[in-house]
């Protein structure tokens, strides 16, 4: 059992406020992923939870107990670092034993525990190797093993896979997910990687400039981004954005004028957007309908990914739009195409960047 609660957490370094009031509740056994651009404060936030950084203001609660001033080891957490941070002078066995020894666990118990974990992580043949003799993936496993043996209530990961090559990263991702299901411990995971965030998280926290932009399940963020930042940040290739102007609006829908002077009726709540308001229309590449009536343009670049094809289409007004189609789709370079924008897949964002509320939830989220 472990819940983590952040109440208006703040961090100031020499007058610079890095974390500007983060409030968050992490449920027991939940897998929470922090994402955000470089420098947004993900690591800082994680390190404050770990106890490696002081909390300037706000309360941190683990299982309802305020732990702001509790030492890292007494918070019942274990952390896996991006650089692995193994003790280079100790072999794998001693690396895992270090924390147990400091905690005063008897030798026989330590040994049983370490062997158990080594078996789970397939580290048995390497127990007496030094970290320098191991490959990146093996080191990563040792780092995870060192965290697991201590039986923590909460696991903290700071970009644990970013030093591995793509193939190994994919493999370790699956291993971590399996491990999480097996251990069922509350996990907080920082990453840059969209795929890691989308596939592993129960809940994603999108951070920007020390502020939480949105918290939700991966699909929630994907299909119902709360604002322009989240819409831009989640999804690859990213969402397309087109400037539009409100023609008529009601609580039922908003009719917008597109750059080519045609109209589109989007089913979102338009009660606060009178006619004439400038909005941003967003649509994901896979929702752009090629060869349907709509905006006219010309194919400028074709990217064939095998399973899918990305068409970069130059619209009449000069804007570039990306449409994703299946791998077999064929549109020659420089040929003219018409792209349809299915209204139920369109997002509208106001000048403040906030999304207008959609009427229909995505079927998977309903």
């Amino acid at each position: 059992m472990a819940t983590v609660e952040l109440r208006d957490i703040r961090k100031t370094y020499l007058k610079d406020e890095i974390i500007k009031g983060v409030s968050l509740t992490i449920e027991d056994r939940e897998f929470v992923v922090f994402v955000g651009p470089s420098g947004c404060g993900k690591s800082t936030l994680l390190r404050m939870i770990a106890g490696l950084e002081d909390i300037t203001a706000g309360d941190l609660l683990i299982d309802g107990r305020r732990v702001n001033d509790v030492e890292p080891a007494k918070r019942g957490l274990a952390m896996v670092f991006q650089s692995y941070a193994l003790y280079p002078h100790m072999d794998v066995y001693k690396n895992m034993e270090f924390g147990l020894k400091l905690a005063g666990m008897p030798a026989s118990e330590r040994s049983a525990k370490i062997r158990d974990v080594a078996r789970i992580l397939q580290l048995e043949p390497y127990l007496h190797h030094k970290p320098g003799q191991l490959s990146g993936g093996q080191r990563q496993r040792v780092a995870i093993g060192r965290a697991i043996v201590r039986n923590p209530k909460v696991f903290l990961f700071d970009e644990p896979l970013s030093n591995l090559d793509a193939a190994l990263r994919g493999q370790m991702r699956v291993e971590l997910a399996t491990l999480h299901r097996r251990l069922n411990a509350t996990t907080i995971y920082v990453t840059h990687d969209q795929v890691e965030a989308m596939t592993m998280a129960d809940k994603i926290v999108v951070l920007q400039g020390g502020v939480v932009e949105q918290v939700g399940s991966p699909l929630e963020l994907y299909h119902h981004p709360r604002n322009l930042f989240v819409a831009k940040f989640i999804g690859s290739p990213p969402m397309n954005f087109i400037p539009v102007v409100v023609e008529t609006s009601s609580t039922e829908s908003v009719t917008v004028r597109l750059p080519d002077e045609t109209f589109l009726d989007v089913p979102v709540d338009g009660s606060n957007t009178p006619a004439g308001t400038a909005l941003t229309l967003g649509i994901r590449p896979e929702h752009v309908a090629l060869d349907e009536p709509g905006l006219a343009g010309q194919v400028e670049i074709v990217e064939r990914l095998g399973a899918a094809t990305l068409f970069h289409i130059r619209l009449r007004d000069g804007q570039l739009l990306v449409a994703q189609s299946d791998g077999a789709a064929d549109h020659p370079l420089d040929s003219g195409v018409s792209v349809g924008l299915p209204p139920r897949h369109c997002h509208l964002f106001g000048a403040d960047g906030l999304a207008l509320a959609a009427h229909a939830r995505h079927p998977l989220l309903a």
Binding site: L14, A50, G51, L52, E71, P72, A73, K74, L77, A78, M79, F81, Q82, S83, A85, L86, Y87, P88, H89, F98, G99, L102, A103, R146, R150
Partner: protein, 275 residues
């Protein structure tokens, strides 16, 4: 060493290295040579390279002064000052490397600046302090002064070595439940051991060779080898044979020590560069 140099280049560098080494080592070799000459041969002009070796100077030196008394003093002072200096510097360098504040850089520079002061500038105050605390001509007194003069260099060296240790490794230790003390002794020290060893070696060598304070703060009881050498120098520049014998005896132990630890010394001093 990934860069490939042309052969002639390597040869030239080797030649230059040998030339510098010979140039630096010549006075020491000459001193050793002179120590085996008779006093007459020692001052002969032109200088003699070929002569009949004699142990006369050594016999005289051993007869006139208790070499072992001075040597033991030097060993005690060098080791004592080094151990105390390390005990004080390790926590200081740890704090500066891993918990820096806005004033860390300034403090480091200030500490180093104390080394730029000519020691004679503080001779009177230090002498008076030593006299009033009854530390004149004691091993403790000279040891403390040697320790303090080397402290800035030792802190600096340890600071650079500690900076090479990735902070996450220490943080991992803290997450594993290590106290600050355990973090230092169980994680940091084993990792920085090569650096600490070469720092210790350097400190011992500096203490061994220190002469200014040795001559001014000791007379007989605590006199180290520097005083031993000085006692054989005469203002008229006579008795080169005995002076050379005394000097050779004084530097021989540290020379041998340095020879055996040179690998460690070089490794430590280039620790940051080759990583």
């Amino acid at each position: 060493m990934a860069i490939k140099r042309p052969k002639s280049h390597t040869f030239a560098i080797g030649l230059l290295g040998w030339a510098i080494a010979c140039w630096v080592f010549f006075p020491i070799a000459w001193m050793a040579l002179t120590s085996f000459k008779t006093e007459v041969d020692a001052i002969a002009t032109p200088p003699q390279f070929i002569f009949r070796p004699s142990l006369a100077s050594y016999h005289e030196v051993f007869a006139r002064a208790n070499y072992w008394h001075f040597t033991l003093n030097t060993v005690a002072i060098s080791l004592g000052a080094t151990i105390v200096a390390l005990a004080l510097s390790v926590p200081a360098a740890y704090a500066m490397a891993f918990i820096p504040s806005q004033r860390t850089r300034g403090t480091l520079l200030w500490m180093l600046s104390t080394r730029m002061l000519p020691p004679v500038g503080v001779l009177v105050p230090i002498y008076l302090l030593a006299r009033n605390t009854h530390l004149l001509d004691t091993l403790t007194g000279l040891g403390i002064v040697d320790m303090l003069t080397n402290l800035p260099i030792i802190v600096w060296m340890l600071f650079t070595f500690f900076r090479e240790v990735p902070a996450p490794i220490l943080e991992a230790g803290r997450m594993d439940g290590a106290s600050r003390w355990q973090e230092m002794t169980l994680v940091l020290l084993p990792l920085a051991l090569p650096g600490i060893a070469s720092t210790a070696l350097l400190s011992i060598i500096l203490c061994w060779n220190e002469s200014f304070w040795s001559l001014n703060l000791t007379s007989s009881q605590a006199a180290p080898l520097a005083a031993f050498i000085a006692s054989f120098s005469s203002p008229e520049g006579l008795f080169f044979g005995k002076l050379s014998a005394a000097s050779t005896l004084a530097v021989a132990p540290i020379l041998v020590f340095g020879w055996f630890s040179q690998k460690q010394l070089v490794r430590g001093l280039t620790f940051g560069a080759v990583k």
